[in-house]
């Protein structure tokens, strides 16, 4: 094909445009690599946290509160180190159930969303039941599930999954239906098949929504796993952190109870940060939520 007959105006035009965006284009050094920025950002919450711990320790010591009512943070820390051999395997059990539930929730949630977007009728017929599953308190149905499903880890997995899957379903469904109308027209114009429209348009459009749902589901999967463990109350080798809390309550080992609680909270924070990082990595090139702007 012939090239441009007169190249000059074209060059001039693009050169002017280029100057326009030169200023907009961010220099690509991620902000979290900037140590000064990270310190400024982390310092206030760390100071508040330390102050809280000091106050807690002082209250416990000055009022001579017995350790079985409220242990001080130093004692909790010591217990965490001393009982690590018991607590760490329990942590792994809880995390395994959480991880598996999140995985199944992701796969099933995305598949259910895709099913929903295939036909309005399917969505209208099934969505209310997804809502019913979501609004029924997991504590109320966990005993039933544990009776029905003999295999305790599987029963726990089902409970955690029930809590975790809804945000993924509802967000991904919304995302799949949010594809740009003009882009849909464009795909039709070029004779795209339903499958091509799905892969090239609907799925990428749904990505930010899905990742938002995943972030919520990560925390919920952990909560679901812990609640189900409380209800199941199993002993023996396969006991998660919730069982350690129950057990500590029965035997008045309150510092260990706090240590287990601390581990659950830390796990939740870790899951949230990991999923946030994943979301950032997936969207950083194009989505407004992940783009670093200057000035």
């Amino acid at each position: 094909m012939s090239s441009m007959p007169s190249v000059e105006p074209e060059r001039a035009a693009s050169a002017a445009d280029v100057r326009g965006i030169g200023a907009e284009r961010p220099t690509r050094s991620p902000r979290w690599l900037d140590l000064g920025w990270a310190v400024r950002r982390a310092l206030p919450p760390v100071v508040i946290g330390l102050a809280g711990l000091v106050a807690w320790e002082l209250v416990v010591r000055l009022n001579q509160i017995p350790y079985y009512i409220l242990p001080g943070p130093l004692l909790v820390g010591k217990t965490l180190v001393r009982d690590w051999g018991t607590l760490y395997p329990s942590l792994l059990v809880t995390l395994a159930i959480t991880g598996a539930a999140l995985l199944v929730a992701t796969v099933a949630g995305v598949l259910i969303s895709i099913l929903f977007t295939q036909s309005k009728l399917v969505e209208l017929s099934l969505f209310p039941y997804a809502v019913i599953l979501q609004v029924t308190p997991i504590v109320a149905i966990a005993p039933l599930i544990i009776i029905w499903v003999r295999n305790i880890p599987v029963a726990l997995l089902i409970c955690a999954w029930l809590v975790a899957f809804f945000p993924i379903v509802s967000n991904t469904t919304l995302g799949l239906n949010s594809a740009d109308h003009n882009l849909l027209n464009l795909m039709q114009l070029y004779g795209a098949s339903r499958r091509q429209i799905f892969w090239y348009l609907r799925l990428p459009s749904a990505m930010p929504y899905f990742l938002g749902g995943l972030r919520i589901s990560g925390g919920l999967a952990l909560i679901g796993a812990v609640v189900a463990e409380f209800v199941a109350g199993t002993g023996g080798a396969q006991s998660g952190l919730a069982y350690r809390i129950l057990e500590s309550g029965y035997t008045m080992q309150i510092p260990r109870m706090f240590a287990a609680l601390l581990m659950i909270t830390a796990s939740g924070i870790f899951i949230f940060l990991a999923l946030t990082a994943l979301s950032h990595l997936a969207l950083r090139k194009w989505h407004e939520s992940a783009v670093t702007r200057e000035g």
Binding site: E10, A13, S14, I21, N182, G191, Y200, W286
Partner: protein
């Protein structure tokens, strides 16, 4: 007149909500011409363009495409469409956005890549293949959109007020670039606009439309020499045509 690329006969378009967009519209697009559809906003210009592209069915009347081979006689792959907004996939680079029509059609990757580079060069965006839409200015996004329409080597290029949201300086540049491309490639162009000045500057013929329900009220052939450039914008001939077309538009809107 050259043979018709597409013909609309006595076309009506009524939307599901009862709005009558077009009534008894006749339009013929001749091969190689640069036709502007000019009319007040909401007169159904965009509707005409969408019907010509096969996006939507006529309520009455008929459309015939020359050399149609696809669904409903539509010449598949011979039509390029540029929307009012750039309509780019934000998650894809410039290269991948322009590649889309070829990918949908299953063109072999090697051939597709060279055609994409060619189209990007035609709109003057070499070096931006790997940029994402959010990194580009409004004018550059529009260029990407035009490159995507050109990559299939369409015979018929449909543009729906493509430069309406751009500033005047950028719009003038893109007008000139579009004219240069049209002169070298000899496609048939249908250009929707509500600007008298833009339509006179670009077109070989202007079809003036009435207010809704839209129909064509008359034709003005712009017999000015090609290639046109900025000197044409300030020439007496240009002014005369602008006055003539404005008068026609005023008549059509009043009637």
């Amino acid at each position: 007149m050259n043979r018709a690329v597409v013909q609309l006969q006595n076309v009506d378009k009524v939307y599901a909500n009862g709005v009558v967009a077009l009534r008894h519209l006749d339009l013929e697009v001749a091969e190689g011409e640069f036709l502007s559809l000019l009319g007040p906003s909401g007169c159904g210009k965009s509707t005409v363009l969408r019907l010509v592209a096969g996006l939507g069915e006529v309520s009455a009347g008929r459309i015939e495409w020359a050399g149609g081979n696809g669904r409903a006689g539509l010449p598949q792959g011979e039509i390029g469409f540029v929307f009012q907004e750039p309509t780019l996939m934000p998650w894809a680079t410039v290269f991948k956005n322009v590649l889309l029509p070829l990918k949908l059609r299953g063109v072999a990757p090697d051939e597709a890549a060279s055609r994409v580079r060619e189209a990007i060069a035609m709109v003057g965006l070499e070096g931006f293949e790997r940029a994402y839409p959010r990194e580009l200015s409004g004018g550059m996004k529009m260029r990407v959109s035009i490159a995507r329409a050109l990559v299939t080597h369409p015979r018929l290029l449909l543009l729906d007020e493509p430069f309406a949201s751009l500033d005047e300086i950028t719009r003038f540049k893109l007008d000139n670039d579009l004219l240069t491309l049209w002169a070298s490639q000899r496609w048939t162009v249908v250009f929707v606009t509500h600007s008298v000045y833009e339509s006179v500057y670009l077109s070989t013929r202007i079809a003036v439309m009435t207010a809704r329900p839209g129909r064509t009220a008359g034709d003005v052939a712009i017999e000015a020499p090609a290639p046109r450039d900025e000197t044409f914008r300030t020439s007496p001939l240009y002014n005369d045509y602008c006055r003539l077309v404005s008068a026609r538009l005023a008549e059509a809107t009043r009637a």
